[in-house]
Symmetry: C2
Subunit: 600 residues, 2 copies
């Protein structure tokens, strides 16, 4: 069925139901960062396959809102579909909300599947359209009725993470969640965020791209937990673990009926940032809503000793894979006469091969970025068959990739100099590295926010008039979301007041960069853990521990702009890298690594 035919079928259904405009976003029912095939409704109805974009279908128009990353791709894919491209944040282009307000008629109806729209967006649209007497209709998924060969919901099996991985039993986690509910005087706690639920039940699965998560919802009371999940994914071991914690299984989609049967007038705790509009809507009919961050957000972010020990193990494995990759790349370009015929995509394959040699490797942490030369200066670049650049000497190869192991997930970026590179590129590489080393060397007291430290990562660049236009660090999940809330290291800005300070056991990335459009891109990313440095009478003093073990390419370092203290930091880091990795490498590899972790 062609896109115009699909849209035509949708319009018939809209007409039957007196819906004037139908909204089709990119989300799944859980507002996940990546979604499974079943949830790619927006791609189905428009033909645009990018990761971000929201479509609307009106009676006589249809459109897609997407951002600058996707203008070219969307224009190509929308050709002939009858779907108009709205280039977000370009001059003269309305916002999605403005446009919907304009096209929904007075007293009209905006429809969408309330499960794939966040509570906050749904409430915003509801309030906005009320100004012209228009209402929302959110209780049905019209795309599902049009999409004949729609991929079914994932049936992939779940797997259990033993306590040697999680460091905490389901029973203990549930007890902590219930303690938090009690503090908020909540009778019920409804959770829709996959990572929050998967964390509590110590389960993982394979239901969405990249993040090994299980599609599920949860309803928790003082003595019971209902887990909404396709039971066929759960083996006997898992079922018995869940039963031990008095967790009852319900069919995945039953939550939408069940929440209507919760005791009216009781208090239910939900996280307005982490629940869909439909659930909120149903819950608010009969219950008192307590809006607060899911208590699991902070619990999950503060890794326990077992998790931290595992993370270090995963990082050693990933460090071995990345070091082999670095050696492979470096050796390929060692002799300028030889054409090693490496491309961005072939490099991705090679790195994946090295990762797969590692025990307990599960999958990539996210869509890998391996970018050569000017491609590395593009924000959010991932190589495609069309963009795939051949890797040549004289510029940088940037690799921002990660691996998921039973022992945790990694997110590591290294930038490699291929052959001889210009002095200015060495200078910029060194400045980025200094930002990474200085932030990693921070000492700060408890109750310090990420934005109080960000300056450390930017000052070396700023002394040369340079900067980078992204945050310096984000949180990392344990075999789950690679961008995990609430950890954030970036300049102060909107939303900062809702954040948490950096707390013991939190893991952040430390990833300053520099990008020169049309020329090159540099980023050096370690993961860093918040550790106690010193207990004091007043505020305790914290520090970071770098837990990423991959050489920072000395071929790209300009020693002349480093102080002795800078050199000491780099040398100490490289000494640790050698100590961590060498027991897992061949003699040849050790000789090579010794050279690339040598003292300067």
């Amino acid at each position: 069925m062609s896109i115009p035919n699909r849209i035509e079928s949708l319009r018939k259904l809209m007409n039957d139901r007196q819906i004037d405009v139908y909204l089709v976003p990119s989300d799944d029912n859980h507002q996940s960062e990546y979604v499974g095939e079943h949830f790619k409704s927006r791609a189905f109805i428009t033909g645009f396959t990018g990761s971000a974009g929201t479509a609307f279908i009106a009676k006589d128009s249809a459109g897609l809102f997407t951002d600058g990353r996707y203008f070219v791709q969307a224009a190509k894919q929308l050709k002939g579909s009858g779907v108009e491209l709205f280039k977000m944040r370009e001059p003269g282009v309305p916002t999605l909300e403005e446009h919907l307000y304009n096209i929904v008629p007075e007293n009209g109806v905006l429809g969408f599947d309330g499960r794939v729209v966040s509570m906050n967006l749904g409430k915003e649209l509801e309030a906005l359209l009320a100004k012209k007497g228009a209402t929302l209709k959110t209780d049905s998924d019209l795309i599902d009725m049009v999409w004949e060969d729609r991929p079914s919901l994932s049936k992939e099996p779940a797997f259990y993470l033993e306590e040697k991985y999680t460091g905490e039993s389901i029973v203990s986690k549930l007890a902590r969640v219930r303690e938090a509910m009690k503090e908020k005087q909540a009778d019920y706690h409804v959770i829709a965020a996959l990572d929050d639920i998967n964390w509590i039940v110590n389960l993982r699965g394979n239901d969405i791209s990249y993040f090994p998560l299980l599609l599920s919802y949860a309803v928790i009371t003082a003595d019971e937990m209902l887990l909404y999940i396709d039971e066929c994914k759960l083996n006997d071991e898992i079922l018995s673990k869940l039963a031990e914690a008095n967790i009852k299984i319900r069919p995945y989609n039953d939550i939408y009926n069940d929440v209507l049967t919760l005791e009216a007038g009781k208090k239910v705790l939900i996280d307005p940032k982490r629940i869909n509009y439909e659930l909120y809507n149903l819950l608010s009919k009969n219950m008192v809503i307590i809006e607060a961050e899911n208590p699991t957000v902070l619990m999950k972010a503060m890794k326990n000793e077992t998790e931290l020990a595992n993370f270090r193990i995963a990082q050693v494995k990933d460090g071995v894979a990345l070091t082999r990759f670095m050696k492979w790349v470096k050796e390929a370009f060692a002799d300028p006469a030889v054409d090693p015929e490496i491309t961005e995509l072939s490099a991705i394959d090679k790195l994946e091969e090295f990762r797969q040699q590692q025990p307990d490797y599960i999958r990539q942490s996210f869509d890998p970025i391996i970018a050569y030369g000017e491609n590395a200066a593009l924000p959010h670049y991932s190589p495609t068959v069309e963009s795939n650049a051949k890797v040549m000497p004289g510029n940088f190869l940037l690799a921002d990739t990660g691996g998921g192991y039973m022992q945790g997930s990694t997110d590591i970026t290294r930038t490699f100099a291929l052959g001889e590179i210009p002095a200015v590129q060495k200078r910029d590489f060194t400045l980025v590295m200094l930002g990474n080393l200085h932030l990693g060397n921070a000492v700060f007291f408890e109750n310090t926010y990420g934005y109080e430290l960000d300056i450390l990562a930017r000052q070396p660049l700023m002394r040369y008039g340079l900067n980078f236009n992204h945050g310096t660090g984000h949180g990392i999940g344990y075999l789950m979301n690679i961008h995990e809330a609430p950890v954030n290291i970036r300049p102060y800005g909107k939303g900062a007041e809702n954040g948490h300070p950096l707390m013991l056991g939190m893991i952040a990335t430390n990833e300053p960069g520099y990008y020169l459009e049309g020329s090159y891109g540099i980023r050096t990313e370690n993961e860093i853990v918040v550790n106690l440095r010193q207990h004091t009478e007043n505020r305790d003093i914290y520090e970071f521990e770098a837990i990423t073990y991959v050489p920072i390419d000395l071929d790209a370092v300009d020693e002349s702009i480093m102080t002795d203290a800078d050199k000491a930091l780099l040398n100490a880091y490289h000494k640790m890298v050698y100590e961590k990795l060498s027991p897992h490498l061949t003699d040849d590899e050790c000789i090579w690594l010794k050279h690339y972790t040598r003292e300067i």
Copy 2:
């Protein structure tokens, strides 16, 4: 009249007016940091003369709330007065608000002079007491009726700051204020903060302690400004300057009648942090209140080029005075056999003598702190006849003082080693100095907040488990408030969301310290200006310029914990100090200064 007699007279007046409890705070009508003699009502009614404290008189009790600095002094001064001491923030002691809520009877009346209570506190008390049906009576100053020999309001003459000092005419400043009023759609702007008014009219006076300000109020409209001030303070030159700007003079206290005659229903801009409760109360009867920061707050904080050039001149003068003081102190202790008979108070006199030798010197910027040894570890210590310590070799002498010149005000702290001091004191001195140098060397982009840089001043100390329990920097007024809003460099905390980022021309203090109770205190304070370092395509890059020129005592520096980069920073600073000061010193003094600004 004894204190009990004064309280008895007050109670009679309260009784006549059906007031149950009468509140007597420390403020003047403008919530100034220092107040004139006329406004010391709380000292009059309780006998307690400390700078901070709030008294209440009820029918059968009376009390004084004050903080830890004053527990000893207050206990002594309140003896026999019948006034009970409430030690603020001690366990079991209620807050002022809690206590008032408890003692004001149901449907009772709390009285105070609404001019000496801030709008925010007044509103808070109003809302709190409404819960038990109680009301406020704020339209009379009962203390004035009891206080027979009350000092009259200051009659000291005003002086005009020519444009060579201010860099901007009254007409230009008023135009900018009116532009801001227009943006906020305000018909009237009522100002009660002395520094805001004095800044607009380019006048200064001598009406309160330390800050050379004139008691005044202002009402500004699109074409007129009413200045409420005792006209006898204004000479003909001033009167003609004011007339040129179409500024009309009204008697100081007439504003309380005049605001009732403003056009009803019009919009009036007031700053809830910078106006008293009585004015707010009167204005809100008939007008629409727009609450916003006085536009002058930001204008005044961003010093113009003329002001900055003057500040540098004032700092050279003060640098000369302080350097002579340092030389005097150092030489007195050069020969351990000689007893130089110096005390904290005699040192204050000596420093004042050096300041008075400087042209255009007006007065001290604030109550000077010269503290020896363990006294320097006490927060807010200023020497008194009782505490006055004799200065001896083997410890630090800390001097936190400032001078007001026609060219601006200074606030400078230096800590001097007397004779040989223990190694640990040298280490701590060096760590404090490094915090000062590192913050002073910061590079940051526009829109950066003070709390994003504070870490730089604390990291050297924190690496050794040390810290200091006060902010790192505050703004500085030009011959006015020495703590000038909104500049603030301190860790993120309450109120941060209302602040402004660091903007070009702002001056901050840079004053890390370290205090070991019972032993010693260290603080090194420079003033720093926010300058443009580099214009870029995105956010411009800023840096600080240290404009305080006084040697940092090399006798107390431990070079072994400094990197080469640290030494370069110190040497560059000292080189500048020598260059700035030496043209104003005798040959002897130059030789001495050369030694104390030598390269290390």
